[in-house]
Symmetry: D2
Subunit: 445 residues, 4 copies
């Protein structure tokens, strides 16, 4: 997964991009970059690491101009090196340009092979690099036309931002797999993966860019056009289940609210239930647990302390120290657990190994009964559109098939999954245009 | 505030210290250090920054031996330089030694002046360095006796760990201002500021070191002695209110549980109340709000998204960008706020400026009514024992005196403080041995 | 100017390249890089700075395989960024490859423009990048054929090394502007800009690669072919005058010896001469001065101490400190100078500003008379083949025309230049195949 | 060995110190530091590495004030850590002070033991730290008196600079082992280990500080006093033989000139001699060889190319690469060596291992005969006054006793040493006040 951000019309464009990317940090911690346009010339700076590790005030000051795009990366295609970081800067017959991409191109290998055979040279091993070669070989007269001409050749999931001296261009694939929103701050136009990145800098959210739609900002004005016919709307439902920030607005409600509703549905789907408390696996499980608590009347009590200094930055001093890692990140809160029947909610169950450790940790702290409730259906198929799921045979729900076998594997006393029907109901509030291929194996492309 | 940790009897002493210090990271983010003892020789490594920034596997491997002490620092006395980081390493007539200190010495200036006049040379400007000079000038025959002999000269708050070839020595001041606990992991003895640092490495919590008590580990055995008569027990109540980790155990209950009880008391102290939801200022406010919700039946709903990537590591790109800082750390969750009467709980009110911003942010997001509830009494006096409070005239409760004036200043519709009586009741569960000087001005020393 | 090195047939190929590049460091201090081939896969590492700053043992160990090429860069075309460092790594239809270039392509702009118009994307702004696009668009069936097919399109100066899974390929332009030698170490074949890079690792020097010739090493065997008809041999004479290392062998003699001979010619060209000592501007001037001393009987005495810690690494603390820079690099040795008539030899006179400072420094130290002798003719025309000369109007010999005016500008009492005839005689020992365009304006291409 | 520098009366004191230390870099490459005095407050910055690695313009700008002292270190006592770098900063009863030391205190262990027993705490393991404890325990009324009172307690070699708000104080031990000169630049007074450090910034050399003399600069005026009776003048003769820079002036002549005279003596001491060329081991050997050439009429020809990028900064990539190290630093110049009878001059013979390698390298390059001439007598005794000689049993001249056996060990055809008589004659030009303990075992202290 990745996060993208673009702004045109504010002379602090790079600094605002920095703040916005910081807010999108949860979408990618591997690399970060910003490209800006000043008097027809592009500058850019990419680096490995977190947004605040990559940038400092002097780098940001060197990125002048009123238009900029930025990117945070979590590798789903291509390895983890600075060559693969974005925005991708390139010089082609239309001059300098930069591109930022969120998504996954399904026919990448095929197009890349054609390009290479006709003499193209690749610098990265990302699928994102394909579009810049397609554009540079277009016969269109200008950059924007070239992009509009070539984007339909890509199949799969993509939200793109392009920076060129002619325009800032935003485009979303015909299925709308990956999010892309439009916002406005004063006279400036803003594009972002999530609304939180626009809200943080005081912008007003306007709307989503529609599937198959492109937006062009030039000379302070915005225009829209369709570069491809829209297909069946297929927004990734996993954004609300796990990926997006709780304060981002999707389908007219915050992600936190969607999760609260899911928690309520989850309780209602359970026939009978005897529990002392309900809790969630931090951080995403909390909202579900609060909704469950509201619907059931069972008190919500945190059972784990999450160490926010841990995570990507904690380096194991030694193999022998591995046994302490689980506790280091999630420390059990003993008197909240001891002797209690606990409903524990997590967003999803992928390989099942983490849940198994968490349940073991609760048992050791004296839990009397553990009812595991999953805020989504069993994941039975991998994602080809940008979510980093493992291969199918690593998916526990595909591997063990029956819920009873999964329950035994993770060590819970009970195990419940939410129905896809209720998941869509809670997330879409009437709108059913979601991709749910990971739950039902029905791939739009 | 600072955090200290010591272990004797495990050949992975430095690596275990590293994990433990990581767990005490909330007690100090300025510098970190570990000293270890191997075959009678000390090694040490200190650095500025977070525990995982200061250490790496090769540094940890170089800190050999089965006994180690560690320290994380948040400066309350002395400036922020590596000279002031701890453990303090020194060579004196008893040979090499290292010291780690949590607390604040009240008569530091007086002792330092005497020492300097008689030829002592100081390398840091911390109050902690005093004890090493006192020890090195003692006429006692060995290091432990010298420490026992000199510690009573210090007045104020201290928990000390000393590493010397003879022994690992732990000592707590006669009032017990700062915490210090004893734990055991296999044959190893452990000392730590909080239980969470011992639990994370699988140790069993034994008990607190008593006020005026010292513990000596040598040759695999532990012994205890009193180096000073205990005074009126004066544990800092602010540890439970704000400083300690929710999963740490103090007075037989987790800090989370103490805060839950406080939240219940807080509701009961309010006469009449009309509210749609109750929420807390992250992170400490959450536990209070859950207790309040339980007692009142008013649903708990998070109203702020806290960005855990922010905090100390976010660098303002520019003065003009300041306006976005509040939102960057605490982003309002709009549909949780809009049109609602909200009880918002925070642990304490110091200067009042942060609360004022937070309330403004809620108003802007459409809150209908904001009832601010503070989980402790008004702070009217500064702390001289290690908590980093501002000068008295900066304290809003001292400055404005009346609650009504404070309410106006922060912009709430209502403002309530918890009584000291109920705070002590919730925290001590019968034990009243707390220092509450910041609330009542009654200083034990 | 740049330095290149290649080796095939030794499993320590990257480490040997590192040592060899270190020996070629005088040819470029801006960036360094090594690419190696292991089991059909390429690895590479480039960085800004000196060879020993860019590489460390762990990076070198990661560059596995028995074939490698390396590069040190001094920018003559393209700006100073890591994008412009070499070897250039690229993926094309023949798979992975890497290229290292020394020289300057005269028709670069023209070819680049054609390539860009047909869709090529450029990552650097060096002229070197052109060849990789030409190769990747060739219709030949394999990499070596593609290179042989495309190299003739380049006009100008080049010695190239290409690394590809099929072969290590070395090629030198039809005029032979830039050097390229072949050596052998055990079973391994070696290519290098100068013999010193091969000698340092114990290799035996075989011969030069001829103008228009290519050498291919594959499967442990070497083969040679002509990819272009040889033109009038036009080796850069400035290599011996200034650029090459004294211990490198060119035209069958060390560069030191050529300079010694030049020094002897220089004395013979001077009609009458009264001087106490002869000295040289360090470091290149020393060999000339020793030859002059031998021919004239005038004792050689160093008059400047060169600070070898200075040079590229000294950072001016302040503009006001500039006046001390000359002395910092070249400190006058007072008793060697005071009251003496001095013949001072320098390799060449480009802008004249450095000589002016040096002569001023001698005067201040009490020199009685300063006879400046230049070991080459007046430079009247810029180099288009890789030597970093300034624009024509900055060249003092072009600007002032007459020797008397130049003498006044630099402040010497006398000024002599060596004749081109004797320069060629000393450098070539019979062979006259040099480019001397900078001295006579007669450009081969 | 170390280098020290001090200046009082120029508001660019730290920047001038930086340039001067750069010029003293040959005296110590391990660490560097500068302390400055501004409005009665001291600032300092020390670090490991070369002067230009430790400092940058912003650090230098932070060192304000018109008085500063600096230090470069090469460890002869104490290990290589930043704790041992100088100037040593300390706070004592006289307030803040800093000290820079060149030399070696012979009774260090004895004094340190007394200090520690009476409660002193040491931070470094250098002998230099002793004086600051002695000063801080003095009963004198001010800092300068305290220093004057305590310095006589030190036995051995020392030149000291002290920075204190009262004064800049310079002091040299009663034997004058280590150099210390006084210079003047405008109104500013300067102290330095060598004249080159003063000359580089345009200062005029005044005189040496005498053995047992101290100089005090305060309020823009200088005064002198004796803190100890002068002993037999015992300047280290090794300064001229090896350590000092060729352009530094000692005993009224440059070091280069002393070496030139030594070279002449060396020829005269050899009875009969048949040789084609004379050469020197770079860099110190060159001056000797030039003098020898002048006296003998045998031409001087360099036989080695020294790589000035090598040295401390070259990191062996691998043990297997060791064989290339000698060639990397000193590459033989083949046509200067082949078939020739060579007189090779080196400054001294310590362990003999380097000479053995160098001679092997000449043989391999085809030298017909190698006559090794050493510009000083056999070293038979270690130095206790600051030169980093090995233990006595590692000294080849002590170990093998007879010249013939040494000759065989190093592999030369002939081996000659200079007599002590002529060494002193050339260095002192009449003045015989040198310490020559390393050559004759007669230790002044």
């Amino acid at each position: 997964m990745c996060g993208i951000f673009g702004i045109s019309g504010d002379k602090e464009s790079a600094k605002l991009s920095y703040i916005a990317l910081f807010t999108l940090q949860h979408r990618g911690q591997e690399s970060a970059g910003i490209a800006s346009l000043n008097k027809g010339r592009l500058s850019y700076y990419n680096g490995m690491g977190l947004v605040n590790e990559v940038f400092n005030p002097s780098i940001l000051s060197s990125l002048e101009g009123d238009t900029a795009i930025g990117h945070v990366r979590y590798s789903t295609a291509g390895s983890s090196t600075v060559n693969n970081s974005q925005p991708i800067y390139f010089k082609c017959k239309y001059g300098e340009a930069a591109a930022a991409h969120n998504g996954n191109i399904v026919n990448a290998a095929e197009i890349k092979s054609e390009l290479v055979n006709s003499g193209a040279i690749f610098q990265s091993d990302t699928d994102s690099e394909i579009i810049i070669h397609l554009i540079s070989r277009s016969s269109q007269k200008d950059f924007v036309s070239a992009a509009a001409d070539q984007l339909p050749k890509l199949k799969g999931a993509y939200s793109f931002l392009f920076l060129h001296k002619d325009a800032l261009l935003a485009a979303r694939d015909p299925y709308g797999f990956r999010p892309l929103i439009l916002a406005k701050k004063g006279k400036a136009f803003i594009f972002a993966s999530e609304t939180c990145a626009a809200s943080v800098i005081g912008a007003d959210i306007i709307r989503e860019i529609e599937p198959g739609e492109a937006a062009v900002v030039r000379g302070g004005r915005i225009s829209f056009f369709r570069f491809a016919a829209p297909e069946r709307k297929s927004r990734c439902i996993f954004e609300q289940v796990y990926f997006a920030r709780p304060d981002s607005i999707i389908c007219g409600q915050t992600v936190q609210n969607a999760r609260y509703l899911i928690g309520q549905h989850l309780f209602r789907e359970l026939k009978s239930l005897k529990a002392d408390i309900v809790s969630g696996v931090p951080d995403s499980g909390t909202s579900y647990a609060l909704g469950f608590s509201k619907a059931s009347g069972i008190p919500y009590v945190p059972v784990f302390m999450r160490n926010h200094y841990a995570g990507r930055s904690f380096i194991q001093p030694d193999q022998k120290m591995r046994e302490f890692t689980a506790h280091l990140k999630l420390a059990p809160i003993k008197d909240a657990i001891y002797g209690r029947k606990i409903v524990l909610i997590d967003d999803s169950l992928v390989r099942g190994t983490t849940s198994s450790k968490i349940i073991g940790s609760l048992r050791k702290a004296g839990a009397k009964k553990i009812i595991m409730a999953i805020a989504s259906p069993p994941i039975i198929a991998p994602c080809f559109y940008g979510i980093d799921t493992p291969t199918q045979k690593e998916l526990i729900a595909f591997r063990l098939k029956e819920i009873e076998r999964i329950r035994k594997f993770i060590g819970a006393d009970e195990l419940h999954y939410l129905s896809l029907e209720n998941l869509i109901k809670a997330c879409g509030r009437g709108d059913r245009g979601f991709c749910s291929a990971c739950f039902d194996g029905s791939y739009p492309v």
